[in-house]
Amino acid sequence: MSTQITEREEESTESEPETETEAGAETAPARQRRMDEKRRRAADRETERERERAGIEGDTRTLKVFRYDPEVEGKEEPRFDEFTVPYRKGMTVLDALIYARDHYDSSLTFRHSCRQAICGSDAFFINGSQRLGCKTQLSDLSNPVRVEPLPHQEVVKDLVVDMQHFYDQMDAVEPYFQGDDVPGELEEQRQSRENREKIKMSTRCIWCGACMSSCNIAAGNNDYLGPAAINKAYQFAMDEREGEAVKQERLEILEQEQGVWRCQTQFSCTEVCPKDIPLTEHIQELKREAVKNNLKFW
């Protein structure tokens, strides 16, 4: 399985070094020896890899991975590549992708970092739903496993999507604390346990974008704030450490045309959220707050 295209292979065979001065630093025989050595080692390693590939026995899993690269021949048209990887207990979709990349095709591209559901990098569309690659056990999925980029987002390459729109929506709700009376340098603002408990779930968001990708409304309407941003606003609006005036401003942002009222309570966001945040409930609660609030000012 390789996406290397012939054109490139031709290009890279024995091309003269561009920078003359550098090549000149090495004598011709030395260079020849090095090139021979390089070829020999490359050949050795290739055999080794072949052996490894052939040696996959026992339990395996197959991934069908979406591939796309706007500037690589053969990948400009989206396609699916298949990778068969050895399976061991505890293996996640992310582990399998890493295996495929490191053993078969180093151009296989996906974001990932923490491997523990906290960095929010690896939300993919796995067997038809939005999940984190690192938090999805292969044993919970039917084989072959289909891995695609998050739907409703522009694909940059392979499994990488453009997150800018998601970030813009987050920014739109003033996603930062705006406390008004901060006590002395060494003293905290008091907050009740109950209040902390109330905002707890909302603070767990890891900005993975799964919710937004699952939401039909957001898919059809780029201006809708979307579940993650509304949840972020919920976190601050419900935090008793922020004053009443700020809360009013927050509710105004949420109440505008592209805010909470767009939500049609389909619960898809809540279902896919890897941090179990009750997104739909939070949106509903904000709707109620908004109504209460309007009544108050009537």
Partner: protein, 620 residues
Amino acid sequence: MAIHEHDVIVVGAGGAGLRAAIAAQEEGADVALVSKLHPVRSHTGAAEGGINAALREGDSWEDHAYDTMKGSDYLGDAPAIETLCQDSPRETMQLEHWGMAFSRDDDGRVSQRPFGGLSFPRTTYAGAETGHHLLHTMYQQVIKRGIRVYDEHYVMNLAVTDHDDPEDRQCYGCVAYDIKTGDVNGFTANDGVVIATGGTGQMYDHTTNAVANTGDGAAMAYRAGAPLEDMEFVQFHPTTLPSTGVLITEGVRGEGGILYNTEGERFMFERGYANNVGELASRDVVARAELTEINEGRGFEDDHVLLDMRHLGEERITDRLENIIHLSKDFEGVDPLEEPMRVKPGQHYEMGGIETDENGATCIDGLYAAGECACVSVHGANRLGGNALPELIVFGARAGRHAARRDRAEARIETGPSAKSEDGSIDTPVTPGEVGATGEDVVADGGSRAADGGALLDAPAGEVVERAVERERARVERLMEREGVNHAEIRGDLQKSMTDHVNVFRQEEGLKQALEDIHECRERYRDVAVSDPSRTYNTDIIQTIETRNLIDLAEALTMGALARTEFRGAHWRKEHQERKDDEWIKHTIVQWNGGRPELYYKPVILEGEEKTYEPKVRSY
């Protein structure tokens, strides 16, 4: 060529980088964060436990400092430790004022809990997600302040002048690869560059660190001439899940979880590793016990031991350790209510790093560092749990502030070769440092001896940055153009050697073997090539460069480990089973020296503001 210009450039947007950027901005500087990950993806988010800060009556910064010095096994510098402990309460409260969702006591104040090695319960926390909250709270401030973030920009190298003595060098900026477009751009810093690139766990094949923790910043600063300090001190955590390295908190053992081997023995007691406290022994003791069991053939699949908590009962487990059930199920496919968890030791934290003073300044003018990539040194030979997060905010803020002022503020900690007190000498099987001197390879592997004109000494900033950009461009071209070895093979071999030889157990022979292996990695890296031909989101190229950084750091670490013939803190040597205070209360320094790493020592400062810390036996 695009050159971006700002007053302060912060490389890395984890806890340390974000705090540095905010502090620099408060000084009035125009700041930019340049980070290979979007800020909220940084590994600070994974920290669970908490932030040590002496906030309460009955506690004091002095007690916190005493605990930290003792924990460091008397290898921390008093000015650094005292600064940490004095500033932590204010910095922690600053986070609260920025809205961080700390857990709360009944009276509405922030909660604190006890942690290993602390004489007072001063670990301030936000559930089991302290790092997540800390990271997001600070990123919110960055949004609020409109600080410019160049995310998914991979910093490849620094732009530094060529003076012979690193202390005469000037840092004018850095070069970054725009991951989305493949462009190589320059960043000029009018006032200073702060490195905050985090840990180095990817040197090992098993770690609690993220895939992105490849020590890039430390490697870049090292090659630019800033020395690495105490790299041999690596903390290993005894209970991590074998397939991913996800950390299982000490809390499981604290609540009564037991460890056993294939013989069904509760080995901590039955094999006499810790007759009194058993599973509750300190991290390093438990980690060594587990590995001994595995090495002697009593491990499962020659890989791990079992941690059982089923006897605690479902109710107690769900009540106190609920997140452990999720972690084990999600990441290991094991339900700990039904069967024991598999655990093994994993790399967790690098105590050493870029040598800085208590203001975050390195010996190179205009270059600062903070966070896990730096070594101030607060943790010495062993970090106490809950002391890394305060380090991020305390020294992040200081580094940012001083970078914005580009001042050489007075500091008690000395940096650079002039701080040397003693030459080091080690007997190495191979010559450490760069291999081969042919131009073409040097360009591709990011080496420093590229033949591109004379040395830049008094050149203007722009010229230094431009040359750095040219070099990195050539490097990218070269890596993309040629064919050769995939970096993943080299990285895999490096990780294996480090795990086999420079792990929890270290002995002379193994360390030498590691140096040979590292040398071999360097040799092979001369043939490294990137096979993904795309300019769009080419992670192959990023990882290839990361692997070079890991090689440099692994070598410095192993040199330090070979040199230090004693057992102190996290550094265990088979042939040298005691702490040797007469000889070894000194920092190990490795300086790149233009590609020929040089080892030397500098003194540890045990004199605090008011008192001198007297080395005592580290027993708890």
